[in-house]
Symmetry: C3
Subunit: 159 residues, 3 copies
């Protein structure tokens, strides 16, 4: 039982892996937050997509009018999808990067810049800030993931 | 060669990791099933989105009428996207959680509740069941992932 | 410090894991490329979704006309979402598969077929090629992930 515990905590004892775990948990929680923001806007804007969600507003026409799209809801949903498109590659490539033996300081630099960029991206999308705020924060996160992928391929290459 | 095998099966020998692998495979297979359900409804409802998909129905107007949205297809697609939004964080945070040295019984409790909640969520979405079935099953899965993230951050924290 | 490095590179020294890392980085980079293709079509087709993205085209009605959907943009976005739906299960199940101790040659076969199928799928979607090109390349990738999931469940099963 003890040997098992030791084995299971091997990776988590490694500092680079701990940093990866910390930043991955943070960006995934940030992404999960988008679900709550969507729900908040759906409820305050009364804009739903599933008929069963409007049942509490009465039956027939009175409820049907809440089955509509709302610009704020759609905006959050686009931000959420953009998170999926960018945070999934970060989590996948970041894991391989953390296992490819980078210096802790270099790894922290990558993880911190990515996380900061995605938090900025969310604010730029939701407020919204004028361009190129959103475009730049997207590009910074994208470049960090690209840089990690380069290190992974250089270290692991076996085609 | 033998040493390599031993190394490669180290993680998979750990019971918590085996439980993680089992439940992750199950929820990802469940998510993949949504593609088949979408295809089933697209074909039975004759509701397609790509012109090349309707070519077998003839040319011109006769095929064009099948380029349309269908409420059942859209419902499955929303369920599929909801899976992506919730199962991706589970898989990512769950891996870190499994490596953070939890008790097997605690880990199993998390994995079982999440998997059960997501299966219920799929039924609630597709049948559909009256609310709050879908909302509650979503919230249960969300809370499990949140609880695992808390354990990961407590164990690994290195900012 | 040295012991730590050794620990961190343990997995990456394993050949099956190196192959997994290589192909996962490749398919995730391919998925990330879809963002650039979307941006390319949005700019060349002048078809945007966020009002702040059209500010450089002037104010009022002159900019508003660029807030529209374009068939080419929507096609790339569907391809991107299909990547998310299929590459996420590959990355998650593939990691568990790589840790379940498969033969290197068998693992390479799985990773190569999946990667080839998804690259074909992208060309079939974007050109577009007549069906069943897209359908078949999708089904091949899907089957590879399914086969890996079977091996994972057989090796790790702990419910």
């Amino acid at each position: 039982r003890k040997g098992e515990m030791a084995k299971s905590t091997q990776l988590i004892d490694n500092e680079v892996f701990r940093a990866y775990a910390t930043y991955t948990a943070i960006v995934l929680l940030k992404m999960m937050l988008m679900s709550l923001v969507t729900a908040y806007f759906r409820i305050t804007r009364k804009a739903f997509v599933n008929p069963e969600d409007t049942a509490s507003f009465g039956k027939g026409e009175s409820a049907k009018k809440y089955l509509r799209t709302d610009p704020d809801v759609e905006r959050v949903r686009r931000g959420h999808l953009n998170d999926l498109e960018n945070i999934v590659p970060f989590v996948g490539i970041g894991l391989l990067y953390a296992l490819s033996g980078p210096e802790l300081s270099t790894a922290l630099l990558h993880f911190r810049i990515f996380t900061g960029a995605r938090i900025l991206h969310t604010f730029a999308y939701l407020i919204p800030l004028p361009q190129p705020s959103r475009g730049l924060s997207w590009a910074v996160g994208y470049s960090v993931t690209f840089s990690m992928a380069y290190k992974v391929l250089k270290t692991a290459w076996l085609l």
